[in-house]
Symmetry: C3
Subunit: 460 residues, 3 copies
């Protein structure tokens, strides 16, 4: 009886000269593109249509029949109609028993229906083997062959042999099938192509808010203040000088926010004396988008590096230095070399370079192919140890940048401190708390809690 199952069919069919017939229900754009592609890959195609006579645009070589006739021609039926029209299938139930029904449908909104389209189809046709596939592929990409983003075809289904056959077809079309398990995964697969960077929304919004705030803060201190007090037009600072303040501040703040939830979680666990109570939702969500926060921070750090390195090419900087030299030459004033200033200037640059270098390393290890190649211990080592080292270096970079000017009151303008002082609040606090948490006595308790120990076991 094994012989009649789906298992033995493909061999016979393929070995007798690539004549496997596939049925496509629906003659819309996607159906046509898929049919054409399959014809090119050596399959026979039968289209099932409401009005077989009216379908003029189909790829040549394909047959067009009524639904029930087409269904008889193949044991694999690809369903390229919208979910709202699935009802017509109930009239064909008998003819579809034992067939492999491939659901390729997508919705217009995430979680549009209570159950996924494929599960709905499975309920409509309990006798068929429903497989979800091809929904992440665009018709245009199939036609043009430009399949950069979509070589991966997620496949799921309850019948593993049906799934295997669909995956073989996917491979024959030059695509990469990815087995996602049973039909339970269909909802996730259907939501996938509708997403637009869902994990990046919070980091982007946060970064945008920080940018706008610090941009205006900088504009007030560096453009409006000089204009009010000295009638000096320094609007040109909006192009490079102020962005070069905004970028490092945003980067440092976001980097600190990557490590803040871990510290909050540790405090919460210490306070509760157990790890068996869920964190609040906002903390969970925050912890899950730490990677994205870090990468956005890295983007701002890169911009800061570029903005800094072009400084000596800027007209304003060249003009200023030129004029200072001329003034000194004219007045023959001595300009003594101050070793401590050289130390401050050089160590501020060195800290920044090392911090940025480690930051880029962190970014590279978060590339999917690299993080897949490391184990959990290595990933933790890089992301936690190197990550904190990066934060320490970047914070030190900012502290040394301030240098001796830090506590002089002349740096206040309209009682506003320079933006970098504000930027230092979160990282410095975080580092102090983290330092307390890794003191042996506290670290021991925390490690015990994380290994399952509880202060008040009866609580649960």
């Amino acid at each position: 009886m094994e012989k009649t199952s789906t298992d033995t069919l493909p061999l016979t069919m393929i070995s007798s000269g690539k004549q496997e017939t596939i049925c496509i229900f629906g003659t819309g754009d996607f159906g046509r593109s898929l049919g054409l592609k399959m014809l090119q890959c050596g399959y026979s195609i039968v289209f099932g249509s409401r009005n077989p006579g009216m379908s003029g645009l189909l790829p040549s070589g394909a047959e067009v029949l009524s639904y029930s006739e087409a269904a008889q021609k193949s044991d694999i039926i690809i369903l390229t109609v919208h979910r709202e029209h699935y009802d017509f299938l109930t009239h064909l139930t008998e003819g579809l028993n034992g067939k492999i029904m491939v659901d390729v449908s997508n919705n217009l909104k995430i979680n549009q229906y209570p159950e996924s389209n494929a599960e709905y189809l499975d309920q409509l046709l309990p006798g068929a083997h429903v497989v979800k596939a091809f929904n992440t592929i665009s018709a245009w990409a199939l036609q043009s062959g430009a399949l950069d983003a979509s070589r991966q075809v997620f496949v799921c289904g309850n019948d593993s042999k049906a799934k295997q056959r669909v995956m073989d077809i996917v491979r024959t079309l030059g695509l990469t099938p990815l087995d996602k398990g049973s039909l339970l995964a269909a909802k996730e697969i259907e939501n996938y192509p509708l997403q637009l960077f869902p994990m990046w929304k919070f980091p982007f919004c946060l970064a945008a808010v920080l940018c706008v705030f610090f941009f205006f803060y900088g504009a007030v201190r560096d453009v409006i203040y000089p204009y009010v007090h000295e009638k000096k037009d320094s609007t040109f600072r909006l192009a490079v000088s102020i962005p070069n303040r905004v970028c490092p501040i945003t980067a440092l703040t976001l980097l600190a926010l990557v490590y803040l939830p871990g510290v909050i979680a540790a405090i919460l666990q210490l306070y509760r004396g157990t790890k068996y109570r869920r964190f609040p939702n906002w903390l969970d969500h925050w912890m899950l988008c730490r990677k994205q926060l870090g990468l956005v921070a890295l983007g701002f750090a890169c911009l800061h590096v570029l903005y800094t390195l072009v400084i000596p090419i800027r007209y304003y900087v060249r003009w200023t230095m030129n004029n200072r030299t001329i003034a000194q030459a004219t007045t023959k004033k001595e300009n003594p070399f101050i070793t401590s200033t050289a130390w401050l200037s050089d160590s501020y640059l060195a800290l920044g370079i090392l911090g940025f270098f480690l930051f880029v390393l962190l970014g590279i290890t978060s590339l999917p192919s690299v993080s897949n190649a490391v184990n959990w211990r290595e990933f933790r080592f890089v992301q936690s140890k190197l990550g904190f080292l990066t934060l320490i270096l970047c914070t030190a970079h900012t502290l040394v940048y301030g240098g001796r000017r830090f506590l002089s009151s002349s740096i206040l303008r309209w009682y506003l401190p320079p933006a970098y002082i504000i930027a230092l609040i979160i990282p410095c606090t975080l580092l102090v708390v983290k330092f307390i948490l890794i003191l042996p006595c506290i670290d021991k308790t925390l490690t015990r809690i994380r290994q399952g120990w509880e202060r008040n076991p009866k609580f649960l």
Copy 2:
């Protein structure tokens, strides 16, 4: 009857102490390396040879027998002889019935024969299960363990159980099998190791032509012209100054050429009033190598950034600025600060920085592991929206660079305009046309055409 199939064999054999026997036909270099590796991984190896007595170099532990004797020892036979010598197998046909024949052969040229070697073998031995595998692995890499580029073993075959067994062997050897479907894929698999960046040839040649042209153009304007007119030796400009003109121009032109075919395709579709007619071949080919064009452009953009950032370290620049300052100091001439120049200089730098940053982002998202992790909608958003933004920023960067000098006639040398003006022609035209195409009235027609609407349906 299930018991006698290939399915149950491996279990019995492996569980009774890793004694599975594999037969290798051919005692050449690859056969020996593969045999040695398999011995190390716990397999028993039997070599089949024309002259079993003459094969002295085989790894110790392996048996050497005649072809027909060796074939009896195992149900998996790895064939490591050249396609020209496959004839000898016809004498063994009976002994090979039901065996798994693994074809590892490669050819010397792409598409050397009308059918792939594995399909040819399948025709020779209709009773055997032919599986294509291991052809992408080099003998040297197998021996040395340095398998960086070739951990992936493409496997294809018509019998899924035979394929499964070969894939298990591949995994045991520490390699990664990649199921490519039926034997139809063998041709592609055999061509694969013979390719040398086929998609990159056109972008590289184009970039080379652009580079050489603009290098000579720059040499004429900046080296030969000053020499002829002022007898000034500025040959040193060939090392940094002129490359730093060539790189941005090539990058901008190539970036524009990435987006040009999309615009041409849109115009073609508008003109034809349908999307159901194939584009000309040159356009198809051009569209398929857009990614490579973009990455070559990114390479030139990176070089431009590096060349620009070293400007202040150059002896020539330091000498020029130094002398200008001395001259001003000596003549005590005033050097007023021009806000508009500061604006031009800063915004030109800021536009360049932002454009380059987005360009690098585009490059990162085209890394295989990153582009696999995004869906089609996200990929289109990045490559299309961010791509055009990059092009706009880079074009604006070049326009502002020209600044006020643009229309003064003094910039012509021998009637040759500066190279950056030539470089602006394609991107500016492209952006204007694109701007027209996204006007609501035209965009609506185009969207309808792309959704399947046709102006003259009878045409088809």
Copy 3:
């Protein structure tokens, strides 16, 4: 009889409403986390425990029974106890016959036991189907969903149907199973999570030794020597100037060491007249960590680029240039333009830029996802041809940097030559030897040896 095998079970169970029951032996942290995750994914969970009454912390919804009772509830048993306690299973042998036993255990040290835990379990329970899985997943990651490094679950086992069922569970939990073949792979899978960058240890240590040596060398020449001879405090050079000597020297030396073993191997093969004798172990090990050596070298090259690009921003550099200009302006001394100096300065920068650019290209092609996408021929082209070109460019960059100062004796301080002269020894020697090796007469012999020819075949 096929009906009673593991093959048909999942379908019935999943299709009747996700009620598949899984048994977990052990109520420790990992067992609880896994149980909770499985409950969330729709499985029924039964815990097996020594004292079913004492287990209060289990996720709600899970049943707790004695080991033997729990085993009867499911045909998949996940064993989350330490290897030392596997003995208790011998009392249950009969009840476990035909069950799928999933071994999730890890050890504390690499190669702690002669055989892997999974193979030990297989010996204890010859009637069960042992599958190794889940050992690379951390309990914390399962709970929090932060599965960056550990989405991959390595699975191995001798029974392919048992393996398939475990892989389906892995997929249902949202993880990616990776079939590693038979139980032979269990040892490797168990060692995997205990590793901390094993291939990187040698390159890192080597780089650290080089860095420390050249740092002190630089400190002696540039800080201690001026202090002793001129009482000048130049300690500030420790922050940027000396690191910017150490980085390029380390990078160039490591890059040369990437290509040195290949050259040594070629000489060894030429000398022995055969390729069929093993290289010494140190050479094998060295060849296997070339990629890591190269990437560490690239890291230092990046640092060198950053350190170089900030030069014009440094206080010391600005002060020096400023003072020189003032001195010249005051004394009204002419400062003639020397074309040869401009040539040296510009070509040194251009060589460095091109070398660094190719170096970064090499680094990008060694990203796992990129190197997987190229074939062996392309990989060799990039790593060998482009690699040597990079080495040539970087060596030339250093040579031109030295420029005319090279042979003047005034550059010696305490008989110590500048560090870059020392750094040039290995690369220059290497390039000369490589140049000799690619001379046609020697290259022909080497190619023949590599194709299997031997000078003294009787030797073997």
